[in-house]
């Protein structure tokens, strides 16, 4: 599980990679909490490198979304691999998250 961060103007793009599971979710939450704590208000999570996500990973993303909203920010997701997207559709999380096919459109739609 890895998080690579880049800042494009006032947007923070975090590229996630590897497995988001019961053992790696706490690390992801800490990383993203740190980024939100730095007053980032527009955040994109690029999930292209995610090879696996379980229910604790989905719960972590919901927790991150809740925290960003509480802080007055906005979260966009982009580039969900097919397997990950199918889990979002299965669990109806597509209704909670704003999801884009490309990073450019995720950034352009704040």
């Amino acid at each position: 599980m890895g998080v690579d961060k880049k800042v494009v103007g006032d947007i923070t793009v975090c590229s996630l990679g590897g497995e988001i599971n019961i053992n790696t979710s706490p690390e992801l939450r800490r990383s993203l909490d740190g980024i939100i704590g730095q007053s980032a208000k527009k955040i994109v999570l690029d999930l292209d490198g995610v090879t696996y996500i379980d229910s604790s990973g989905l719960a972590t993303l919901i927790e991150v979304l809740r925290r960003i909203k509480r802080e007055g920010g906005t979260l966009h997701l982009c580039r969900l691999p097919d397997k990950v997207r199918s889990l979002f559709e299965m669990t109806k999380l597509t209704k909670l998250f704003q999801i884009y096919d490309a990073e450019e459109t995720a950034c352009a739609n704040f």
């Binding site: 379980d54 989905l58 809740r66 999380l93 209704k95």
Partner: protein, 131 residues
């Protein structure tokens, strides 16, 4: 096989069991679904069943027959009422953190049964024509 109730063993255990299925040459998407269902069942057994008491065992069974894979996961807990799990895709439950594990298992596998009192789950995936 049996494992201790240690969450760090979840991935290792599913890797091992999926390795035993490698000769079947299953499609990646089927393996992904089996891995996720198995890991969710192991996590539930360790956290909710055995209450993270490391010395308590979780028993796992795997068999392939008649075009199906059957996996059982059993803990030593007193079980739970699997009929009363809130539906995580209802609007009022969408923002809740938990409650998706069993839902995912039921959606990813073709047949899912619990024993009474609910400390053993049996999951079946049909693999005929899914290679």
């Amino acid at each position: 096989m049996q494992i201790k109730s240690d969450l760090k063993l979840v991935t290792k255990t599913s890797d091992k069991l999926l390795g035993e299925l490698s000769a079947l040459n299953l499609d990646d998407s089927i393996l992904f679904e089996i891995k996720l269902a198995l890991e969710e069942a192991l996590i539930n057994a360790i956290i909710h069943g055995n209450k993270r008491k490391e010395d308590l065992p979780v028993s796992i069974g795997l068999s392939v027959k008649d075009g199906s894979i059957e996996i059982t996961v059993e803990d030593t807990g007193c079980g739970f009422d699997y009929r009363k799990i809130p539906n995580p895709i209802l609007d009022e439950n969408m923002m809740k953190m938990g409650g998706r594990g069993v839902f995912l298992i039921k959606r990813l596998m073709d047949k899912v049964n619990y024993n009474d009192p609910g400390n053993r789950i049996t999951m079946v995936k049909h693999i005929s024509n899914k290679k």
